[in-house]
């Protein structure tokens, strides 16, 4: 970053090369869409490029990068949910009273894939149902393996606050995923 800050464009290219999978991976954890994740990752790197002159190496570069990534991801999630709220009545075609299309029996997935996909959806829903700060803390802790201190720097709060954020987040996740836990395997839904 410091070399790039001095105006070395090749250093920026190297920075992109070195961090792309982390940034794309992190965004994907928030929004679960590969194409959007790549677009947003480009946005993250552009922000880094634009902010190169104001960047002060007081904290780790990765902390700064994660903060930008989390902000970009949360903004995308917010605008997505706004778009969903803005859906006009003309766009709603399913009023729930007509005959519904039946799934194509030939396109059915094997049971294990179905369970796997269902479980992934549930996990995704559970993470998304968390308040924003808890979401960020969970994703940084679980998927980036960041310590509480590093999460605190990224989110901009104290380590104690992160401790309490993650305690509440993990309680919420436990409640949301309870049905998938009881068997102890996490793959079979208890009915």
């Amino acid at each position: 970053m410091l070399t790039f800050q001095k105006g070395d464009e090749l250093a920026f290219q190297e920075l992109v090369e070195r961090n792309q999978s982390r940034v794309i991976g992190l965004i994907y954890r928030f929004i679960s869409d590969a194409a959007d994740a790549e677009d947003l990752a480009q946005e993250v790197f552009l922000r880094i490029y634009r902010a190169r002159k104001t960047y002060k190496p007081t904290a780790k570069f990765s902390t700064w990068m994660f903060r930008i990534t989390a902000n970009v991801s949360l903004n995308a999630l917010r605008s997505r949910s706004n778009r969903r709220d803005d859906v006009s009545i003309d766009q709603i075609t399913d009023f729930g009273d007509g005959p519904r299309a039946m799934p194509d029996p030939d396109s059915r997935l094997p049971d294990t894939d179905l369970h796997q996909r269902e479980l992934q959806e549930k996990v995704q829903e559970a993470i998304r149902a968390l308040p924003e700060k808890q979401q960020v803390a969970v994703i940084l802790s679980k998927y980036e393996g960041l310590s509480y201190a590093d999460i605190a720097l990224t989110v901009g709060c104290t380590t104690m606050a992160v401790k309490s954020l993650l305690a509440r987040a993990r309680d919420n996740l436990k409640d949301q995923l309870l049905l998938y836990i009881r068997t102890g395997r996490g793959r079979q839904r208890v009915s």
Partner: protein, 164 residues
């Protein structure tokens, strides 16, 4: 004062993440050895956390760096164009401001001329009343004046002569 179970549950997540001081972690471990309910709680927390591993990692397409650098070139080109357009935009803003100011002045002048027309001349009594009797300003002037004059006349007619 929280019960030992309440306290342990409040720090269980940090204990599972290895974020507690050694002495605190040891106290939690000792409590879990004795408390079946908290052990079950810890198991649920651990297992639900493990379920998050079921989420697949992001599929990263190759060639990202190339696409990123191409976008950067586009961005720089846009910035260059913006910079070139900036003086023209500023000139346009100045012209628009001057035109707006001139239009405002002309409009003000027209309005002033329009509203500044001489009023219909008042009769001498109207003029006197409007100057001296301020509390009648909003009244129906002529009616009020007629009533006052009539009352004055009546009072002076009915007044007994002094010394009679």
């Amino acid at each position: 004062m929280p019960s030992p179970c309440q306290w342990v549950r409040s720090v269980l997540a940090a204990w599972l993440d290895g974020e507690l001081k050694v002495s605190t972690a040891e106290a939690v471990r000792r409590h879990l050895e004795q408390c079946e309910s908290c052990r079950a709680h810890a198991r649920l927390l651990k297992e639900s956390w493990r379920l998050l591993d079921e989420m697949p990692p992001a599929p990263v397409r190759s060639g990202f760096t190339g696409r990123m650098m191409a976008r950067l070139v586009e961005e720089k080109e846009l910035n260059r164009l913006e910079a070139r357009l900036e003086p023209r935009r500023r000139r346009r803003q100045v012209v628009a401001s001057v035109l707006g100011l001139a239009a405002g002045l002309i409009l003000g002048l027209v309005l002033h001329t329009w509203t500044g027309l001489p009023e219909k001349p008042k009769s001498p009594i109207e003029r006197e009343v409007s100057l001296n009797v301020s509390f009648l300003e909003d009244a129906d002037l002529m009616d009020e004046i007629a009533v006052i004059e009539a009352m004055d006349r009546l009072m002076s007619d009915n007044q007994p002569d002094e010394g009679v």
